[in-house]
Symmetry: C2
Protein backbone atom coordinates (compact mmCIF):
# COMPACT_ATOMS: atom_id res chain seq x y z
CA UNK A 1 0.00 0.00 0.00
CA UNK A 2 1.23 3.42 -0.95
CA UNK A 3 0.74 6.26 1.46
CA UNK A 4 1.27 9.62 -0.16
CA UNK A 5 2.26 12.26 2.33
CA UNK A 6 3.64 15.00 0.16
CA UNK A 7 3.94 16.20 -3.39
CA UNK A 8 5.54 13.93 -5.97
CA UNK A 9 7.55 15.66 -8.63
CA UNK A 10 6.42 13.48 -11.47
CA UNK A 11 7.63 14.17 -14.96
CA UNK A 12 10.76 15.82 -13.62
CA UNK A 13 14.16 14.23 -14.18
CA UNK A 14 15.72 13.58 -10.78
CA UNK A 15 19.05 12.54 -9.38
CA UNK A 16 18.02 9.82 -6.97
CA UNK A 17 19.48 7.16 -4.73
CA UNK A 18 17.67 4.12 -3.34
CA UNK A 19 19.31 2.05 -0.68
CA UNK A 20 18.46 -0.46 2.06
CA UNK A 21 19.41 0.76 5.51
CA UNK A 22 19.25 -0.87 8.91
CA UNK A 23 17.24 0.79 11.65
CA UNK A 24 20.50 1.85 13.27
CA UNK A 25 21.67 3.54 10.05
CA UNK A 26 24.03 1.06 8.41
CA UNK A 27 24.06 0.24 4.68
CA UNK A 28 26.74 -2.45 5.05
CA UNK A 29 27.89 -4.65 7.92
CA UNK A 30 31.32 -4.55 9.57
CA UNK A 31 34.54 -6.02 8.10
CA UNK A 32 33.82 -5.41 4.44
CA UNK A 33 36.24 -7.18 2.10
CA UNK A 34 36.61 -8.10 -1.56
CA UNK A 35 35.02 -11.48 -0.78
CA UNK A 36 32.27 -9.90 1.30
CA UNK A 37 31.79 -6.32 0.04
CA UNK A 38 28.58 -5.89 2.01
CA UNK A 39 30.19 -6.85 5.32
CA UNK A 40 29.16 -9.30 8.01
CA UNK A 41 25.40 -9.57 8.30
CA UNK A 42 24.97 -7.07 5.48
CA UNK A 43 23.02 -9.47 3.29
CA UNK A 44 20.18 -9.25 5.80
CA UNK A 45 19.62 -5.71 4.49
CA UNK A 46 18.55 -7.19 1.15
CA UNK A 47 16.57 -10.24 2.29
CA UNK A 48 13.28 -8.40 1.64
CA UNK A 49 14.38 -7.87 -1.98
CA UNK A 50 15.37 -11.49 -2.61
CA UNK A 51 11.97 -12.65 -1.37
CA UNK A 52 10.05 -10.72 -4.04
CA UNK A 53 8.94 -12.24 -7.33
CA UNK A 54 10.19 -9.07 -9.02
CA UNK A 55 13.75 -9.91 -8.02
CA UNK A 56 13.43 -13.49 -9.31
CA UNK A 57 11.98 -12.15 -12.57
CA UNK A 58 14.96 -9.81 -12.97
CA UNK A 59 17.22 -12.86 -12.59
CA UNK A 60 15.27 -14.58 -15.36
CA UNK A 61 13.51 -17.25 -13.35
CA UNK A 62 10.25 -17.81 -11.47
CA UNK A 63 9.94 -17.72 -7.69
CA UNK A 64 9.42 -15.38 -4.78
CA UNK A 65 6.20 -13.85 -3.56
CA UNK A 66 4.24 -11.00 -5.08
CA UNK A 67 3.99 -8.48 -2.28
CA UNK A 68 3.88 -4.76 -1.68
CA UNK A 69 7.67 -4.95 -1.79
CA UNK A 70 7.49 -6.36 -5.35
CA UNK A 71 5.78 -3.19 -6.49
CA UNK A 72 8.50 -1.13 -4.88
CA UNK A 73 11.14 -3.16 -6.73
CA UNK A 74 9.29 -2.79 -10.05
CA UNK A 75 9.17 0.97 -9.54
CA UNK A 76 12.92 1.22 -8.98
CA UNK A 77 13.73 0.57 -12.62
CA UNK A 78 11.18 2.89 -14.20
CA UNK A 79 12.38 6.01 -15.98
CA UNK A 80 16.05 5.40 -15.18
CA UNK A 81 18.37 6.88 -17.79
CA UNK A 82 21.76 6.36 -16.18
CA UNK A 83 23.42 4.89 -13.11
CA UNK A 84 26.39 6.45 -11.34
CA UNK A 85 28.66 4.24 -9.25
CA UNK A 86 31.90 4.79 -7.39
CA UNK A 87 35.39 3.62 -8.41
CA UNK A 88 35.31 2.51 -12.06
CA UNK A 89 33.43 3.44 -15.20
CA UNK A 90 32.04 1.64 -18.17
CA UNK A 91 29.22 2.10 -20.68
CA UNK A 92 26.30 -0.11 -21.63
CA UNK A 93 23.86 -1.91 -19.37
CA UNK A 94 20.57 -3.74 -19.05
CA UNK A 95 18.01 -2.59 -21.62
CA UNK A 96 20.15 0.22 -23.00
CA UNK A 97 20.84 1.69 -19.56
CA UNK A 98 24.18 3.42 -19.21
CA UNK A 99 26.36 2.84 -16.13
CA UNK A 100 28.75 5.65 -15.23
CA UNK A 101 31.46 4.92 -12.67
CA UNK A 102 32.92 7.95 -10.91
CA UNK A 103 36.63 8.36 -11.53
CA UNK A 104 37.13 12.09 -11.94
CA UNK A 105 34.72 13.56 -9.41
CA UNK A 106 30.97 13.67 -8.92
CA UNK A 107 30.35 16.78 -11.04
CA UNK A 108 31.92 15.13 -14.05
CA UNK A 109 30.06 11.89 -13.39
CA UNK A 110 26.76 13.72 -13.17
CA UNK A 111 27.45 15.64 -16.38
CA UNK A 112 28.20 12.39 -18.23
CA UNK A 113 25.13 10.72 -16.75
CA UNK A 114 22.93 13.62 -17.86
CA UNK A 115 24.29 13.30 -21.39
CA UNK A 116 23.65 9.55 -21.34
CA UNK A 117 20.30 9.63 -19.59
CA UNK A 118 18.56 12.42 -21.46
CA UNK A 119 15.33 13.44 -19.72
CA UNK A 120 15.29 10.32 -17.58
CA UNK A 121 16.30 9.93 -13.95
CA UNK A 122 19.87 9.45 -12.83
CA UNK A 123 20.44 6.90 -10.09
CA UNK A 124 23.44 7.18 -7.77
CA UNK A 125 23.88 3.49 -7.09
CA UNK A 126 26.56 3.66 -4.41
CA UNK A 127 28.66 2.93 -2.53
CA UNK A 128 27.84 4.87 0.60
CA UNK A 129 30.81 7.19 0.17
CA UNK A 130 29.68 8.23 -3.32
CA UNK A 131 26.12 8.82 -2.09
CA UNK A 132 27.49 10.93 0.78
CA UNK A 133 29.45 13.06 -1.67
CA UNK A 134 26.35 13.69 -3.76
CA UNK A 135 24.24 14.59 -0.70
CA UNK A 136 26.94 16.86 0.77
CA UNK A 137 27.36 18.67 -2.57
CA UNK A 138 23.60 19.26 -2.86
CA UNK A 139 23.47 17.24 -6.09
CA UNK A 140 20.97 14.58 -4.95
CA UNK A 141 17.25 15.38 -5.39
CA UNK A 142 15.79 12.32 -3.75
CA UNK A 143 16.84 9.68 -1.24
CA UNK A 144 14.68 6.55 -1.23
CA UNK A 145 15.37 4.55 1.91
CA UNK A 146 14.24 0.99 2.48
CA UNK A 147 14.29 0.96 6.28
CA UNK A 148 14.89 -2.65 7.30
CA UNK A 149 13.93 -3.51 10.91
CA UNK A 150 17.29 -4.98 11.83
CA UNK A 151 19.98 -3.65 14.13
CA UNK A 152 23.44 -4.35 12.70
CA UNK A 153 25.37 -2.70 15.51
CA UNK A 154 28.39 -1.90 13.35
CA UNK A 155 29.37 -1.33 9.73
CA UNK A 156 29.20 1.51 7.20
CA UNK A 157 26.78 4.33 7.93
CA UNK A 158 24.98 6.23 5.18
CA UNK A 159 24.16 9.57 6.79
CA UNK A 160 27.59 10.69 7.91
CA UNK A 161 29.43 13.78 6.70
CA UNK A 162 26.37 15.02 4.82
CA UNK A 163 25.38 18.03 6.93
CA UNK A 164 21.61 18.33 7.18
CA UNK A 165 20.13 17.72 3.72
CA UNK A 166 16.66 19.05 4.73
CA UNK A 167 14.74 15.91 3.90
CA UNK A 168 10.97 15.75 3.42
CA UNK A 169 9.19 12.39 3.33
CA UNK A 170 7.19 12.27 0.11
CA UNK A 171 5.88 8.74 -0.11
CA UNK A 172 5.78 5.91 2.36
CA UNK A 173 5.15 2.30 1.43
CA UNK A 174 4.89 -0.12 4.34
CA UNK A 175 5.13 -3.89 4.36
CA UNK A 176 5.65 -6.39 7.16
CA UNK A 177 9.28 -6.67 6.03
CA UNK A 178 10.42 -3.11 5.42
CA UNK A 179 9.32 0.53 5.46
CA UNK A 180 10.08 2.34 2.21
CA UNK A 181 10.33 6.12 2.58
CA UNK A 182 11.02 8.39 -0.38
CA UNK A 183 12.63 11.63 0.85
CA UNK A 184 12.85 14.78 -1.23
CA UNK A 185 16.03 16.72 -0.53
CA UNK A 186 15.37 20.40 0.03
CA UNK A 187 18.91 21.68 0.09
CA UNK B 1 -3.44 7.89 7.51
CA UNK B 2 -2.77 4.61 9.21
CA UNK B 3 -1.19 1.83 7.23
CA UNK B 4 -1.47 -1.49 8.99
CA UNK B 5 1.23 -3.89 7.93
CA UNK B 6 1.11 -6.54 10.62
CA UNK B 7 -0.88 -7.83 13.52
CA UNK B 8 -1.70 -5.50 16.38
CA UNK B 9 -1.82 -7.10 19.76
CA UNK B 10 -4.81 -5.17 21.00
CA UNK B 11 -6.16 -5.88 24.42
CA UNK B 12 -2.78 -7.11 25.61
CA UNK B 13 -0.86 -5.19 28.23
CA UNK B 14 2.49 -4.21 26.72
CA UNK B 15 5.74 -2.72 27.87
CA UNK B 16 6.26 -0.04 25.26
CA UNK B 17 8.52 2.87 24.44
CA UNK B 18 7.76 5.72 22.07
CA UNK B 19 10.50 8.10 21.08
CA UNK B 20 11.41 10.60 18.38
CA UNK B 21 14.55 9.65 16.50
CA UNK B 22 16.55 11.41 13.80
CA UNK B 23 17.08 9.65 10.49
CA UNK B 24 20.68 9.05 11.54
CA UNK B 25 19.59 7.38 14.77
CA UNK B 26 19.93 10.05 17.45
CA UNK B 27 17.37 10.69 20.21
CA UNK B 28 19.27 13.68 21.60
CA UNK B 29 21.76 16.14 20.15
CA UNK B 30 25.41 16.52 21.22
CA UNK B 31 26.60 18.28 24.39
CA UNK B 32 23.69 17.42 26.67
CA UNK B 33 23.70 19.35 29.93
CA UNK B 34 21.42 20.14 32.85
CA UNK B 35 20.38 23.33 31.06
CA UNK B 36 19.94 21.55 27.75
CA UNK B 37 19.18 17.89 28.52
CA UNK B 38 18.17 17.16 24.94
CA UNK B 39 21.45 18.44 23.50
CA UNK B 40 22.20 20.90 20.70
CA UNK B 41 19.61 20.73 17.97
CA UNK B 42 17.70 18.07 19.89
CA UNK B 43 14.53 20.14 20.11
CA UNK B 44 14.13 19.68 16.35
CA UNK B 45 13.26 16.06 17.11
CA UNK B 46 10.08 17.23 18.80
CA UNK B 47 9.03 20.07 16.51
CA UNK B 48 6.40 17.84 14.86
CA UNK B 49 4.85 17.27 18.30
CA UNK B 50 4.73 20.95 19.25
CA UNK B 51 2.93 21.76 16.02
CA UNK B 52 -0.04 19.49 16.80
CA UNK B 53 -3.23 20.72 18.43
CA UNK B 54 -3.06 17.64 20.66
CA UNK B 55 0.11 18.95 22.27
CA UNK B 56 -1.40 22.38 22.83
CA UNK B 57 -4.50 20.75 24.36
CA UNK B 58 -2.30 18.75 26.75
CA UNK B 59 -0.75 22.06 27.84
CA UNK B 60 -4.23 23.40 28.51
CA UNK B 61 -4.50 25.94 25.71
CA UNK B 62 -5.69 26.21 22.12
CA UNK B 63 -3.38 26.26 19.12
CA UNK B 64 -1.56 24.00 16.72
CA UNK B 65 -2.93 22.16 13.72
CA UNK B 66 -5.05 19.03 13.68
CA UNK B 67 -3.05 16.63 11.55
CA UNK B 68 -2.29 12.94 11.19
CA UNK B 69 0.39 13.59 13.80
CA UNK B 70 -2.28 14.81 16.26
CA UNK B 71 -3.93 11.42 16.11
CA UNK B 72 -0.60 9.76 16.83
CA UNK B 73 -0.15 12.01 19.88
CA UNK B 74 -3.69 11.27 21.11
CA UNK B 75 -2.98 7.55 20.83
CA UNK B 76 0.16 7.77 22.94
CA UNK B 77 -1.77 8.36 26.14
CA UNK B 78 -4.42 5.69 25.72
CA UNK B 79 -4.36 2.66 27.99
CA UNK B 80 -1.20 3.72 29.84
CA UNK B 81 -1.07 2.40 33.40
CA UNK B 82 2.43 3.42 34.44
CA UNK B 83 5.53 5.22 33.20
CA UNK B 84 9.08 4.10 33.94
CA UNK B 85 11.88 6.67 33.79
CA UNK B 86 15.57 6.60 34.62
CA UNK B 87 17.30 8.11 37.64
CA UNK B 88 14.66 9.09 40.24
CA UNK B 89 11.29 7.82 41.36
CA UNK B 90 8.02 9.26 42.54
CA UNK B 91 4.37 8.31 42.55
CA UNK B 92 1.30 10.11 41.22
CA UNK B 93 0.83 11.67 37.81
CA UNK B 94 -1.60 13.11 35.31
CA UNK B 95 -5.07 11.53 35.54
CA UNK B 96 -4.07 8.94 38.10
CA UNK B 97 -1.07 7.75 36.09
CA UNK B 98 1.84 6.48 38.14
CA UNK B 99 5.40 7.48 37.29
CA UNK B 100 8.12 5.04 38.33
CA UNK B 101 11.72 6.20 38.24
CA UNK B 102 14.34 3.48 38.05
CA UNK B 103 16.68 3.47 41.03
CA UNK B 104 17.23 -0.19 41.84
CA UNK B 105 17.33 -1.86 38.43
CA UNK B 106 14.92 -2.39 35.57
CA UNK B 107 13.43 -5.65 36.87
CA UNK B 108 12.37 -3.97 40.06
CA UNK B 109 11.05 -0.93 38.17
CA UNK B 110 9.01 -3.15 35.89
CA UNK B 111 7.59 -5.09 38.82
CA UNK B 112 6.53 -1.89 40.55
CA UNK B 113 5.06 -0.54 37.31
CA UNK B 114 3.05 -3.73 36.79
CA UNK B 115 1.65 -3.42 40.31
CA UNK B 116 0.76 0.23 39.68
CA UNK B 117 -0.52 -0.18 36.14
CA UNK B 118 -2.70 -3.24 36.49
CA UNK B 119 -3.79 -4.54 33.10
CA UNK B 120 -2.77 -1.33 31.33
CA UNK B 121 0.36 -0.67 29.29
CA UNK B 122 3.66 0.28 30.82
CA UNK B 123 5.60 3.00 29.06
CA UNK B 124 9.37 3.18 29.34
CA UNK B 125 9.72 6.92 28.97
CA UNK B 126 13.51 7.21 28.76
CA UNK B 127 16.21 8.25 28.74
CA UNK B 128 17.94 6.37 25.97
CA UNK B 129 20.11 4.41 28.39
CA UNK B 130 17.07 3.09 30.28
CA UNK B 131 15.35 2.14 27.01
CA UNK B 132 18.52 0.33 25.89
CA UNK B 133 18.59 -1.66 29.13
CA UNK B 134 14.97 -2.74 28.63
CA UNK B 135 15.58 -3.77 25.00
CA UNK B 136 18.80 -5.63 25.81
CA UNK B 137 17.10 -7.51 28.66
CA UNK B 138 14.22 -8.55 26.39
CA UNK B 139 11.73 -6.70 28.60
CA UNK B 140 10.34 -4.33 25.96
CA UNK B 141 7.43 -5.59 23.83
CA UNK B 142 7.08 -2.65 21.50
CA UNK B 143 9.21 0.21 20.21
CA UNK B 144 7.25 3.05 18.62
CA UNK B 145 9.63 5.26 16.65
CA UNK B 146 8.77 8.68 15.30
CA UNK B 147 11.34 8.88 12.52
CA UNK B 148 12.04 12.58 11.99
CA UNK B 149 13.65 13.49 8.64
CA UNK B 150 16.56 15.39 10.15
CA UNK B 151 20.23 14.49 10.29
CA UNK B 152 21.73 15.53 13.64
CA UNK B 153 25.23 14.24 12.90
CA UNK B 154 26.08 13.71 16.57
CA UNK B 155 24.44 13.09 19.94
CA UNK B 156 22.96 10.16 21.84
CA UNK B 157 22.01 7.10 19.80
CA UNK B 158 19.07 4.88 20.73
CA UNK B 159 19.93 1.55 19.14
CA UNK B 160 23.35 0.89 20.66
CA UNK B 161 24.25 -2.02 22.92
CA UNK B 162 20.89 -3.68 22.33
CA UNK B 163 21.93 -6.70 20.23
CA UNK B 164 19.36 -7.42 17.54
CA UNK B 165 15.90 -7.14 19.09
CA UNK B 166 14.20 -8.84 16.10
CA UNK B 167 11.85 -6.00 15.26
CA UNK B 168 8.75 -6.32 13.10
CA UNK B 169 6.98 -3.20 11.81
CA UNK B 170 3.34 -3.47 12.87
CA UNK B 171 1.81 -0.12 11.99
CA UNK B 172 3.06 2.80 9.97
CA UNK B 173 1.55 6.27 10.07
CA UNK B 174 3.03 8.75 7.64
CA UNK B 175 2.77 12.53 7.59
CA UNK B 176 4.72 15.20 5.74
CA UNK B 177 6.59 15.86 9.01
CA UNK B 178 7.44 12.43 10.37
CA UNK B 179 7.09 8.68 9.78
CA UNK B 180 5.69 6.84 12.79
CA UNK B 181 6.56 3.13 12.84
CA UNK B 182 5.37 0.81 15.61
CA UNK B 183 7.76 -2.14 15.92
CA UNK B 184 6.89 -5.32 17.78
CA UNK B 185 9.93 -6.83 19.47
CA UNK B 186 10.24 -10.54 18.77
CA UNK B 187 13.05 -11.39 21.14
Amino acid sequence: MILGCGKRHKGMSSVTCQISISLDGFVAGPNQSLENPIGEGGMRLHQWLFETDSWHKLQGHAGGAHTVDSEVVDGLFQNVGAYIMGRHMFGGGRGGTTFNFVTDGIDSALEQARLAGGAKDIVVAGGAHTVQQFIAAGLLDELYLHIVPIVLGAGERLLENVGDPMLKPNDVIASPAVTHVRYRIGR
